[in-house]
């Protein structure tokens, strides 16, 4: 069972690199003064400090770190301590070449950058284990240290012989015999039959790049091997005598790893959030960010930590805009509204050189506290203290959207109707957004998640039915759930091998339809969904569809909408069937957002889902966190104009204005006893 922390207060602070300033005690001293002023109570240290912690092989230098931790602790500031494996010292790369990655073309990378170790290398694992254990021995029981921050933003992959060998072992364990692998992978195609596991090589554009099952398993292996690497780190920490919980900072919609598998290796999920505010309308960005918060929260169905965010402008995007006044506070409270127990920044003090020297920071090169950014950070700290009672509260969702990374990988590699873009993620987000706009908490889940408890499940483009997912869906509907399935669902099994005898596999009776063909549209083409008068749900508007139009044959379902054009004019676009105690809707085409907004309003009503807030104006976000006895209602206005949000009288104001008229970027938090 995962270790937990009762923080008692929102964590406010972030990444801090005092090792860059050891020759400037005046600055280190000033930092503490500023931290206190800005209500900063937590720092993350040690990320990328290896070269200072172990300047020569086996020669450790931890005293400076202890002094920093002590000095901060004296002033009430706690430490999240990082393991330094995200970057290694030059001496190690020079002495042990194997710690560096190999590219898909089997050439080794040189020293440089970060996040680029071989995750299999015994030498690297040994070196990491040694320093992690030492750190745990020294700091694992220090009262200031509250949490382990394992490495940094895990990602990428290595194609070295060590990793190839490990991949073969992984495959052997999965498939047992090479005959089984050949059969599951369909290697007869293009004469790619393997005689033994030893013959298998990682995918590469310089070699095998079109065997989907190989590529999919390689991606799975990369996740598993990354987790194995993390376990090695956690083991070291435990061997060092520390029982503190561990986290790793995940990334925005990162498709190199399957985060759902991090559920058990991490005690706490945390992630780094760098939205591009002020590019599109803020409420569009807010939806996008919200989906990530909900995805992170859903991994463990528990509060998470916002591990990094930018106090001002980033420095690594094509265009790095300043956050306009109020944006920092709104964005910080958005994390909290979706289940975060922290607001942490990268970075507390700007580094003086190298690639991130212009990344926004609480304290910049100017070095004083009379800046706009410092004032806004301080305000965040004050608000977090004001709403302290909400920390640690949880969220319950009755609606969920399936967004499965393995499914995403398979679709991205599909060689099917649209190779330019299948628009999987956009489709998921349209479903998510329309559900959220009903004022509902929404989970973002994978195929492994338990479906009990959800009243509505959107499963758009569920291309891959893994491990009998069709049975899970069938049971869900039989038991009374509402399932919204779509085109491009149930085509392949877990090795990307096509189901025979009709799709959506195993659910043709449940949906009452069979998918016959799928048409791809050029970007300039569109079709329309025409409502069938007097049909179930009562949709009466015409909506546009683009990109993909599936042609289905109906065996036993009611047609609610039909195509308006092309040779399939009159074919179904939306069908409905009751099955068991539940409902199944099948969406045949890539519909515009307006359809989903209309559709989910009706579906939610049918399923008995109801928001705490009656009417939700455009751009307004509503979420609910709750403790055993209290419900907390978070309302934020991301529209560029004031919006009025009427709240039931039983709610009491915890934070924000009394008025129900909310200015742009304003937040109100209310509560009521349950």
């Amino acid at each position: 069972m995962a270790k937990q922390i009762k923080y008692g207060r929102y964590l406010h602070g972030g990444d801090y690199n005092p090792e860059q300033w050891l020759d400037r005690p005046d600055i280190l001293q000033k930092d503490i003064e500023y931290f206190k002023k800005a209500h900063i109570n937590t720092v993350s240290v040690g990320i990328f400090s290896w070269a200072v912690l172990e300047p020569e092989e086996g020669k450790y230098n931890f005293d400076w770190l202890e002094e920093i931790i002590n000095n901060l602790y004296k002033e009430g500031i706690h430490t999240i301590l990082a393991t330094p494996s995200g970057a290694r010292p030059k001496w190690m790369a020079d002495k042990y070449e194997e710690v560096l990655r190999m590219d898909p073309d089997r050439t080794r990378r040189f020293f440089g950058g970060r996040h680029n170790h071989c995750f299999t290398s015994p030498v690297y694992r040994e070196k990491v284990h040694a320093i992690d254990k030492k750190l745990a021995e020294r700091f694992g029981k220090h009262p200031a240290v509250m949490l382990w921050h394992i490495s940094n933003e895990f990602g990428g992959e290595c194609h070295c012989p060590l990793c190839q060998a490990k991949f073969r072992e992984w495959l052997k364990e999965k498939y047992g015999t090479i005959e089984n692998l050949n059969k599951r992978w369909c290697t007869t195609f293009w004469s790619h039959i393997y005689n033994s596991f030893d013959q298998i090589e990682s995918p590469s554009t310089k070699g095998e790049n079109e065997l989907h099952a190989l590529k999919l398993d390689w991606k799975r292996f990369v996740t598993d091997q990354t987790i194995d690497f993390i376990k090695n780190e956690v083991d070291a920490i435990r061997e060092g005598g520390s029982e503190l919980p561990v986290t790793a900072n995940l990334m925005y919609d990162y498709d190199g790893l399957d985060y759902k598998k991090f559920k058990d290796v991490l005690d706490i999920v945390s992630w780094d959030n760098y939205p591009g505010w002020h590019k599109k309308e803020e409420y569009v960005t807010a939806v996008d960010v919200a989906m990530q918060h909900d995805l992170m929260r859903s991994i463990k169905k528990a509060p998470f930590l916002l591990m990094e965010s930018c106090p001002s402008a980033t420095n690594w995007k094509p265009i790095n805009k300043l956050k306009k006044p109020g944006m920092l506070l709104a964005g910080s409270l958005q994390a909290v509204a979706h289940g975060s127990d922290s607001v942490l920044y990268f970075q507390l003090r700007q580094s003086q050189g190298a690639s991130e020297k212009f990344h926004g920071a609480v304290i910049d090169h100017y070095g004083k506290d009379d800046t706009r950014v410092f004032r806004e950070v301080t305000e965040v700290g004050e608000v977090l203290e004001q709403i302290q009672e909400t920390v640690g509260t949880t969220m319950r969702s009755q609606a969920a959207v399936l967004y499965d990374r393995e499914n995403d990988w398979a679709i991205a590699d599909v060689q099917g109707p649209r190779n330019v873009d299948m628009h999987y993620r956009e489709n998921v987000q349209k479903n998510y957004r329309a559900l959220r706009e009903q004022g509902l908490n929404v989970d973002i889940i994978a195929m492994e998640h338990d479906l009990a408890g959800y009243k509505v499940l959107a499963a758009p483009m569920a291309y891959m039915f893994r491990d009998g997912y069709e049975e899970k869906l069938r049971t869900y509907v039989e038991n009374g759930g509402t399932l919204v399935l779509s085109y491009w669902s149930g085509l392949v099994d877990g090795t990307d091998k096509c189901f025979l005898d009709g799709t959506p596999y195993g659910l043709m009776d449940v949906t009452g339809i069979r998918s016959a063909e799928i048409d791809a549209l050029y970007d300039w083409e569109e079709n329309h969904a025409i409502p069938e008068k007097g049909s179930h749900l009562g949709i009466s508007n015409v909506y546009t569809c683009k990109n993909l139009c599936e042609l289905v044959e109906v065996s036993d379902a009611e047609v609610l909408m039909r195509y308006g054009e092309d040779f399939y004019q009159g074919y179904p676009v939306l069908t409905h069937k009751t099955f068991g105690k539940g409902h199944v809707y099948y969406v045949c085409a890539d519909m515009e957002l307006g359809f989903y907004q209309d559709f989910y309003g009706r579906v939610a009503a049918e399923a008995g889902l109801k928001s705490q807030v009656e009417f939700i104006p455009e751009g307004v976000s509503v979420t609910v966190r709750e403790s055993d006895d209290t419900e907390y209602l978070f309302i934020q206005n991301y529209a560029r104009k004031p919006q009025t949000v009427a709240v039931p009288a039983e709610y009491e104001l915890l934070y924000g204005t009394e008025s129900e008229v909310m200015a742009p970027l304003q937040t109100r938090i209310l509560k009521k006893r349950k």
Copy 2:
């Protein structure tokens, strides 16, 4: 002399991969049932089957193949048997690295994909020879087997040391001495003089990439070495005792090989046709496809085979659209109308996994015959039986367009006026289309083709005059031919070395002009051709020109049109001269299509060319196939509206409606005794 087949019926069927279903005898049985229902009489098997045919080195496994062939034959279905060299088993790549290609950077590719062998490797040639011979011994006299399908879609190149050595031999044979090569290649430029043939390396962006003659000769070598590889395969088949004809499936406008050189090594030309219908207007696509059919037919001036086509949507284009109803039949009959004796598909049954699993097939994963695609395939089979008497008939063309691959290579590499795009192919196609729209059969020829028999020859952008092509053109005109030459013609010899003393080389007296300068236009610029009143041909419209405007000096020609703008306003755009018994037109600029439509209407009339059909509405295609005693008129309507095509009374209907009003995508086939 090439071996021939009297098929007796149109071949209908295509690629079939039973080795993917050996564990599913029920499916293999069902396939035969469906084939018969769809009037399928031919299958291509063995493509990519090497790993099943020779699972371990020297251990052959042919029984399954014989059983398949026998079972099909019992039901009247013949077999085209492929050699498996398009992909090799993993064990071979592991044991003999040299069978894999090297990239231009001299690194070897890994195992994977297909079509990627070294075509020089003695080991690979030996392994291919062995299995081909074995296959020939076993199946070469089997009554079901009618044709050898050598490998698959030859293409690509290898830069390994074996290939480098072979290239040097090839050069030595061509040039005799290194001094001669240096002189022909102009290696004095940038000090690239070679002291011996041993010093020569294949072109590479990592090395020599700007010596045009080297690059051109390398491309020629690649074609020659590919053909030499094919010869090795054919030799093996003959050694195995089979005297059946051979083909290889060529590709759409493939510029990696010079297909005209395949004339002698193949008994029958075949090609794979995957047009992107429904992207532009269908008649635009139809013109593009027609040009390829005519190119393939012109290689041997004989009927060819449509070896692959898609029964539905492909899966490898950016956007893979469904074929709308009627498109499959129209596209299939288009091949026949241009000289094909077959309609074959890739693929008869969809594979269950790997990269082509979603490519359209006669029988898809659903696996039954109650699909739209199956019904349309069946209709094609029925129509082919209905028009069976036309099989094996030939085509005669009195007009030809020069589209020479070596010329294309040289222009693509030219470093001349427009490096973004010289628009060679577009220009060729404008000439072709305008001639076709006169209702004429048109050949697409190379510089090697005999010109006797053509009344009109379009030779646009004939940049390279190879092996005295200027003399061939001179003789052609002297003997009464009409030559349409254009800007950017006759500048270099066969090693891309500039002619001195004026261009078009050797034809300044024939054309009556000399090219002085050539202006390149930005994409947003244009000029105009203004007709000279009362001049020859009587053109009276103004036409736009773009991209390239040549400035010529007239010595002895009539100016028919002049530039309307820029400093060369008033300079000639179109000239005419009679020479010997013929006519020469010189087009100075990249004219719009409308010009060519107008121009070739007048030129065809002058040259006495006449279509069987008086008036040809927009979008309508007319071709003629003929036997010794009968002429078959194929009319297709590719417009998106009905068109009326009046046909002389002496024609009798073979296929299609009685009415002369043709619906979109409709075909009529008529015949008359000669």
Copy 3:
């Protein structure tokens, strides 16, 4: 001190490759005849002739060259003699692999192309030294030879072990200790601390690519090593007994080398000018070219040579347009107007093959003199003789624009507000253009240039204050200069390390402002600068700004303009302060050109700068060259319509029409006694 030539006449001629025609004495003979007809008095020979000069190792073949030089000299044509190091013979690359470069991925390039030697290789340096010395011995005192042309268009870099070692030496010399390097480079970031100089590797996308200081020093090293290579060549020439001056032909805005460092190694600066006329309006192109002329002249503050230019269309641009009539003359005289003592072409005779065979030439493949290009070249020759008295005259500028290559490198690599484009060069050019449009000579200078003598200095985006540049600026203003500084100035020192405590570093008191934040705008965004009524300078128009908007805090300056929109509406955009005897303007945003035109009109007036011409119409260029006793006024009209340029009565016409109405592309040259 630099060696000088008194040419006595404008050099007219250019690159000549007789070694390509040694088997055609008739052509070589004809060339001389044509040269004389075209008033060509100078040829550059020997560029890329190594393979002919040393066909086998150690076997020299110079006789042909002597004969060519003699034959030309007999006819009054002088020779610029090139060293052949720009390309090497194949035998050398085969025998000594080290002469070829290695790419950043540490793989070696193959033989081919040009300009691709390792500049460190002892073998290459030895081979170059040997042939250069031999050439100097043979031709260094030949009366026809006037100048050494070292190699050709130096550029590029090498990552071989020899270069890596040299780079480490270079760093050791610069930083002394590894501790100092670590501190200056901020290597603590991401654990990149070096334990010794031996650990340092050149930057590579396959390794370290984000340590700005490393990348900056690598670029500096590349320049220094290139110059060291040149010194090796000059040494050889001197050892060979030649005391003739040396030049190297530089390139348009080439950012691979820091040309300001070539000041001392070259006796004369020369460059190759290939503008894309007729793409935009000619006057826009003319400004762009003028800036390069001024940059080249400013390197040594002395007349330079136009070493290459195209007599007609180039062949290496995407679109290679013909020069319209008059363009060649105008462009040639533009070079002269900006300080060139030559008009030289690439190339005199077109080569017959290889990659530049279609590059424009005085004599083309046609090979005769009755061409438009030949006539226009002849006209240039005639005009140069007509204005012969102006040769060798110099230019004085009272205005300068800072355009520093090291600053440019740092900005390009910055990872700051706009990674898509910081628009440094565009900003420099807007400042330059607005100053030039006041009719002023303008220098383009680096931070090393002496500022004495300038009345106005524009220093836009002076991001890097190197070696105390802030002190240089302070002194300049104190002494009465007008400084125009802008946003993004004074942020880092010479190792790209951020200054602490506020920016613009060291000038907060001089400017009276501190930069607080900088906002990046998307390409579709803009803000406006609103004039402050009644403020200094009296600007009254509103101007648009884009891309970057700095937010400054004013301590002691007058605000002349303020932002019109966004949350920083009302913040300053333009400030002014008098400091010492001078003025400082600070421009906070990337303003449109119109602002600079308005602004510099006022600033120039305030600073007492005055053009020889009262009113300068749009598109007209005015420069002044002068001898000890005479001032020469060059006026060119690059507008597409006639412009009237009134000239004070004291000027006497040297070249051009009497009328003050100037047709497009027309030039007038006037003179007066000083």
